[in-house]
Amino acid sequence: MKKIFPILSIVTVALLGYALYLALVVAPTDALQGEVYRIIYYHVPSAWTAFLLFFINFVASIRYLTRSKASTEMGAKWVAIGIGVVGLIAPFLPPVRRLIPPGMEPSAVATTIVLIPALYFLVGKLFPGDRLDVLAVTSAEVGVVFCTIVLITGPIWARPVWGIWWAPGDIRLTSTLVLWLIYVSYLVLRRFSNSAQTQMLAAALAVFGALDVPLVYLSIWFFRTQHPQPVIGGGGSMDPRMLHVLLFSWLAFLLFGFLVCWSRFRLELLKREVEQAHAMESLAGAEDSEKASLPLSRGTR
């Protein structure tokens, strides 16, 4: 395992360098926005990576919450399977199909939804027991970093193109900000909580945050969005060469995010091992001193 890490790091650096070259040199200049638009090769991949990480955090938290009782774990499993089955069939039914925006294939929607239970079972398989919580904290932390990149690069792009740094009525802008706020409060809770109950409380807060996201989206629905329409499957027109660079950039970012998560994951595991060792040591120390000071009472037992 440890040998793969340096190799993967070199690959990631090469990929990020090549992605930068593609973004700055190979990708064609936008007809309307000029050179400024090139920031999307960092903005959009960061956003997708952040959303993926937040979703992983949600799945890990759900699994952590439900694992304490066999019945709830069973229920959550069937809900995940249900989502997968309904998601596989529903996009092809005519009434649902009409709701899908033009340009988006029903098969693409179905594949995306099937990925949800797949991820659910994959996370459960790869991260047993307390490792679920380690995964949750790792993905939340790295997700917040990527989300911060999104929130910084967004206004830098918006200033020359829209003429304003920030559009309060824009649906994706505001939802991303609220998402960022929720996960920062999640990290604050973890920082301030006493160690024994932190995992449960944090998992519950993660579920609340995930429930909040669609409501945030709905609440800003009324305002007209200023954002460019979705790139993948949204019917927005994008030069195929640009899309190619964007997807390549995303690949590099995903690998980068994976590496950061991996090292953070190992760090957190080590930290917990050290804490546990300290606790055991002090426990043993207390027993020893008890033995030393009260030899009679220990001996009579």
Binding site: S185, Q197, L205, V207, G209, D212, F222
Partner: protein
């Protein structure tokens, strides 16, 4: 089922009686929101036409801050003499305790709103242009949205260091859609420019989703060890 209602009503009656005798939460909330109103009047001093557009935001910001004052006290009260620990080991349903606390807070915040609303009308010279009755569902649903999540997160922040500051840090990000619904809905009614129906439905959805989530997770939070 009978024990559920018995525990609920016993806790609720106890909380109301405590509040009636001490008036701790209500007095601090009232004075706090009065201060907020006065500071807002000094800082904005708007014309009647302008105030219709901003009062929706001011009212709910004042109530939100005041509600946090009351919410912080709900569970802290049970820490004395290990009441909460006793509750944890008893077989009483956890959700009954949670609902009783939420309903109690809902009543206290509603009393505050009833007393403070005339003050806002006087200070800002308000005259409602839209259908005024819609303010009632907005206020009821909005208050419940604040209180149900607030009670849940207050129980959560009880387990943290510096819990007084923790509650708003947890509550405000999650409450953003509800606050937006209350503020935008109130402004819509006050100005009469557009319909508030959408916001009432939004608040209703928010209430249903988060009441369900709180009831589902409160037992875990209470018994987390």
């Amino acid at each position: 089922m009978t024990s559920f209602w018995a525990v609920l009503s016993a806790t609720l009656v106890k909380d109301i009686r405590l509040e009636w005798r001490s008036k701790d939460a209500l007095n601090s909330m009232l004075f706090f929101s009065l201060l907020v109103v006065v500071i807002f009047v000094f800082s904005f001093d708007p014309l009647a036409e302008e105030s219709r557009h901003i009062v929706g935001g001011l009212v709910w910001v004042a109530f939100l801050f005041a509600a946090v004052v009351a919410l912080n006290q709900t569970w802290a009260r049970e820490l004395r003499n290990q009441v909460l620990d006793a509750y944890r080991v008893s077989p009483a349903p956890a959700n009954a305790l949670f609902l009783a606390k939420s309903v109690g807070n809902f009543l206290f915040v509603s009393v505050l709103e009833t007393l403070m609303t005339p003050l806002f009308i006087v200070f800002y010279n308000l005259h409602v242009l839209g259908p005024a009755w819609q303010l009632i569902p907005i206020a009821l649903l909005g208050t419940w949205a604040l209180v149900v999540n607030g009670t849940f997160f207050a129980a959560m922040s009880l387990r943290t260091r510096n819990r007084e500051i923790m509650l708003p840090l947890l509550l405000f990000p999650i409450s953003i859609p509800a606050v937006l619904g209350m503020v935008a809905g109130t402004t819509a009614v006050l100005t009469g420019e557009n319909s508030a129906h959408f916001y009432i439905v939004l608040l209703l959805t928010y209430d249903v989703v988060f009441t369900t989530a709180s009831l589902a997770l409160f037992g875990t939070i209470l018994h987390a060890e």
